[in-house]
Amino acid sequence: MQTKPSGRATNVSRRKFIIGSAAVAGGGLALGFNLPFGPAPAAAQSAIDGVPEVNAWVVIKPDDTCVIRVARAEMGQGTHTGLAQLVAEELECDWKKVAIEAVNPGSNLARKRIWGDMSTGGSRGIRTSQDYVRRGGAAARMMLLQAAANEWGVPAGDLTVADGIVSHKATGRTASYGSLAAAAAKLTPPDAKAIKLKNPREWKVAGKPMKRLDTADKVNGSKIYAIDFKLPGMVYASIKDCPVFGGKVTSFDDSKIKNRPGVRGVMRVGDTAVAVVADTWWRAKTALEVLPIVWDEGPNAKVTSATIAAHLKEGLTANDAFADTNNGDALKVIAGAAKKVEAVYSLPFVSHATMEPMNCTVRLTADKAEAWVPSQNAEASLATLSTASGLPLEKCEAYNHGLGGGFGRRGGTQDYVRQAVAIAKQLPAGTPVKLIWSREEDQAHDFFRPIAQCKLSAGIDANGALTGLHVRVSGQSINAYLSPAAIKDGKDVRQLQGYWKEPGDAQIGYSVPNLLIEYAMRNTHVPVGPWRGVNTNQNGIFLECFMDEVARAAGKDPLEFRRVMMQNHPKHLGVLNAAAEKANWGSPLPPGRFRGIAQFMGYASYSAAVAEVSVSPKGEVKVHRMVLATNCGHAVNPDQIAAQVEGGVAYGLSTFLSECSVDKGRIVELNFHNYRVLRLAAMPKVETVIVPTYDFWGGVGEPTICVGAPAVMNAIFAATGKPVRSLPLKNQGMTLV
């Protein structure tokens, strides 16, 4: 219905880099990668302080410091520590001497992507790296042992190693890894595929609640985030993109601000934005605020939340939906059922609101482009730097700083990198410029969690069993905005995440004899993108809250009602049971307190939650306790899993407080005064139940977020007798306290 601005994702793989599932470690050359330029330098040339690497993953210094390289981004989710644990486990080094070094994307490309995919999203950081990083650690161990064997003239098989000390029992000789590393670096690496990895049940470093390796500089202010990074002679930019998505800059009157102190330039950025460059960011920001800008807002300026809601509502009954699951004859069975339940749910746009706003520092010269960024996908940052600057990849480098929050905002899109390059191009060559978005700009130009509505209908038989279920989602598609090629034959299955019939990733956990699941794509002019948990958030709420409505209509306990339908889904059932048991489901509660339960699957992990809630007569909702269970297959660091579970609760419950509404084509809530997010006082006590089955690898950062919200909504339903069918809670006359 509206004009859509371009919002294409950038990533290196679109340039025909192939991501092999076995991005072979071991210092050897990975196979199957297309090189964009030149031959790779010899592996051992890359070094720290002149110390040759044992292989791509491991550098051991003479003092036995063990530097483990990581390619995935760290945005708080603990992936760096977890990946280091996996390497260290196989390496058998001394964990107390482990340090982390982040890999630059230019180095990765120059070495045929020896570190594999750098993009960090979809809760993939550990689960899709674990095999090759463990092989990397094991290969380094084997080379270090072989170096000792060569030195001592004994078979490597006679050696043992613990905490980085190699021993030969028969002769009593020992040597530390640090003393062997230089010799090990010269050896031919073993065949990575032939390496036998440890049984995870025998792990000593991985699988344990090790402390994070990246905490020290976060408690004294010394960590340099991208927003903190400085270069000599650097100038600062503040930017304003047309507040109406799809609008353009008509003109601006720079005479009004160019004599303000420190202002160095006023410029167009693409067709849609204006930037002011000054010697400090405050001067740039305040000058931009008083710059007269005339916008061509275009037809989207008429769009409001109400027009978008009507657009989605039409999709609930339209004829253009596609059915991803159609078992039996759900519509007929529901129509003829002894009892029928029907409900329409609605969830709004929400923003990421990372604490560190979007920012990027760029320095361009005739033959070099550099960017200092917070990025979930440093290779996408590099690719954007290259395309925006016009310089080939080998003349570009992106330096990824630890992110002040990511949550899906800083992945493939890289809009802030593109803007920073466009600004730098308009400055004298070699002038470093740091672009920082104001919070208002950050709220106005996010890639929002898609807006969605869902109509659900159920038929119950005389025994209270669910005989037919119809789920019709109508809402905006992330793929339509960011990755149209991912939509096959107009069928965007991604929007039905969590309802898929295929096992292994985001499978529905219920067997319903007559089941119809449909999606009607209803796009808007508002940019959308992945938001921690992505579509499992909305789909988890739709299905799991409706399940409680149906259970109540059937006169059944919500847990028992679900269990009956989950017998063919033992892993889904397993976490549901684990959560119910630890939460003492069914036991008496203090007066006024009620429980709610939910289960769902996403990112190859199984999640369930129980919430304990009270609701005051004034509609104040207090969440007292939450128990969340996860089966993520392998638990690499239980303490960090708990941190992610707790964080997911906070992030998910924030959507009970606010939405991003649309008026005159633009976002209304532009800062934390009206885009309210969860603060400490409203944080429930969270217990994490980890039940790994060791037969698959699932994600951690996102999966549990999708069960927290519906468990709380179901507890509110239990408390009030009224289902919560939309968020934020103010729609129900309630608030979270």
């Binding site: 500089d217 202010g221 684990a578 303490d639 400490l680 089955t693």
Partner: protein, 180 residues
């Protein structure tokens, strides 16, 4: 030039009088431990102490800060991260992304200066800074620990049960889902 006392040192800065203290600290004095989050005193990422009171420096214009006022930033809390609050934060692995934690630590220190043994309600009322990673549970535990409370664990409650180790893990020991 304006005179300031930051972390016990007299500093002179050249900035407009309406410049927020936050940007003076970050850009004029190169002290980037104090963070920009919202610019309207809502999120608390920019929290500093002025004469012992926690203040949101993004909304403190330079002209309102007197030369005699004692401004303390995260960089001035200790030379070696040895302040009890910093130690509790590190011991409990409170930070995730870490961006808001300078401000959280400043808020916690100011709270403990007023209430050496804060209750949960005191912590609710005083610790209003936003953390989007959601580290609140550990922040609460770390404040109690820094106050000298005895803490078991780090605020997180974890029930770890691998399949095959305890029947209490429930149904997870059932047959595979057919997917692996």
């Amino acid at each position: 030039m304006v005179e300031l006392n930051v972390n016990g040192t007299a500093r002179r800065v050249d900035a407009e009088p309406d410049t927020p203290l936050l940007w003076v600290l970050r850009d004029s004095l190169n002290m980037t431990g104090t963070k920009f989050g919202c610019g309207i005193a809502q999120c608390g990422a920019c929290s500093v102490h002025i004469n012992g009171e926690v203040k949101r420096s993004c909304s403190i214009p330079l002209r309102t800060v007197k030369a005699a006022d004692k401004v303390v930033t995260i960089e001035g809390i200790s030379a070696d991260s040895s302040h009890p609050v910093q130690k509790a934060w590190a011991a409990f692995d409170v930070p995730q992304c870490g961006y808001c934690q300078s401000g959280q630590i400043m808020a916690a220190i100011a709270l403990l200066a007023k209430k050496p043994k804060p209750t949960d309600k005191d912590i609710d009322d005083a610790m209003t800074n936003i953390c989007r990673c959601g580290t609140y549970q550990r922040i609460r535990a770390a404040v109690h620990a820094a106050a000298g409370g005895t803490a078991a664990g780090n605020g997180s409650v974890i029930h770890m049960q691998a399949a095959g180790e305890s029947p209490a893990a429930g149904g997870v020991q059932l047959a595979l889902d057919g997917n692996r």
